[in-house]
Symmetry: C2
Subunit: 166 residues, 2 copies
């Protein structure tokens, strides 16, 4: 696991127990996730805490002045060779629109490339609430690979983005 500093942001990849509370705060602060989704975010931290390097879930925590301000969670998709899923990326509400999300995403992409990842897949919703999310990925060079109509609910499509690496 590496640690890396990028203009006042430090990146940490090892998971520590206090990440449970920080991740809950970060994910809840975003206002983008349902309660059951917050629970899933914590379960993935618990999986990594319990299994260490055997966990299929990998993390990057972005820290500023010793405080965790955002994080990403990713992993190689089962039954694939080199396809990674970006399960989560979230930044504390009070730090949003400061560029942290884009830098955290770029660092996460570097880590995936270093592991031999060929492609990063991201799934999100087509609902108007997620327009900033769609713009975020488009700006970062992600392309829409598929739109699954009415997937989440009637009128709520699944949008699948992909970024090919290397």
């Amino acid at each position: 696991m590496t640690s890396h500093v990028d203009s006042q942001l430090a990146y940490r990849e090892s998971v520590v127990p206090r990440d449970r509370g920080d991740v809950r705060e970060i994910v809840e602060s975003s206002g983008f996730f349902h309660d059951f989704e917050v629970d899933v975010a914590i379960e993935l931290i618990d999986d990594a805490l319990a299994k260490g390097e055997r966990s299929e879930y990998l993390f990057v925590f972005a820290e500023r002045d010793g405080r965790t301000v955002g994080y990403s969670c990713y992993g190689e998709i089962a039954c694939t060779r080199g396809s990674y899923d970006l399960y989560w990326i979230a930044v504390r509400e009070e730090h949003r629109a400061s560029g942290i999300g884009g830098r955290l995403l770029a660092f996460t992409e570097e880590r995936i490339a270093a592991r031999g990842g060929r492609a990063i897949w991201v799934e999100t919703s087509s609902k108007p609430k997620y327009e900033p999310t769609l713009r975020f990925y488009a700006r970062a060079g992600y392309e829409i690979a598929a739109v699954l109509k009415d997937f989440y609910a009637v009128g709520d499509d699944k949008v699948v983005f992909v970024k090919r690496l290397g």
Copy 2:
């Protein structure tokens, strides 16, 4: 849970311990699945045996003369309303090409519709080996919703089928 007879085929929806061995035999006999995928198939049976009706995995077992000749496993996809995933459908090798797969699929679709399912999603591989699988779903009225290029590996795309119900 219901039981239903359809021209020498009986359908059973409750999971019993001997399904562990039968599912392993059925899935291995097909020759379509890797060892780790066979393990996953058994884990889903174990989940249903342990949790009963609280399991998110639902099953249909097709029986002929008291023997389980095929099965399907499906469930509502997390975070969706009415989107179902058909995780598995497999028929014993010696009973293939006898129409059991199509009848088992049709019965499974009826059960999903009865639960209020709006759509059934199926994921498969684009590799030549799976051409019979692609034809099976096309014949059953499934449409290709997306093709995710090089998803499983270079040259091995993910094909997403959907069938809208009702």
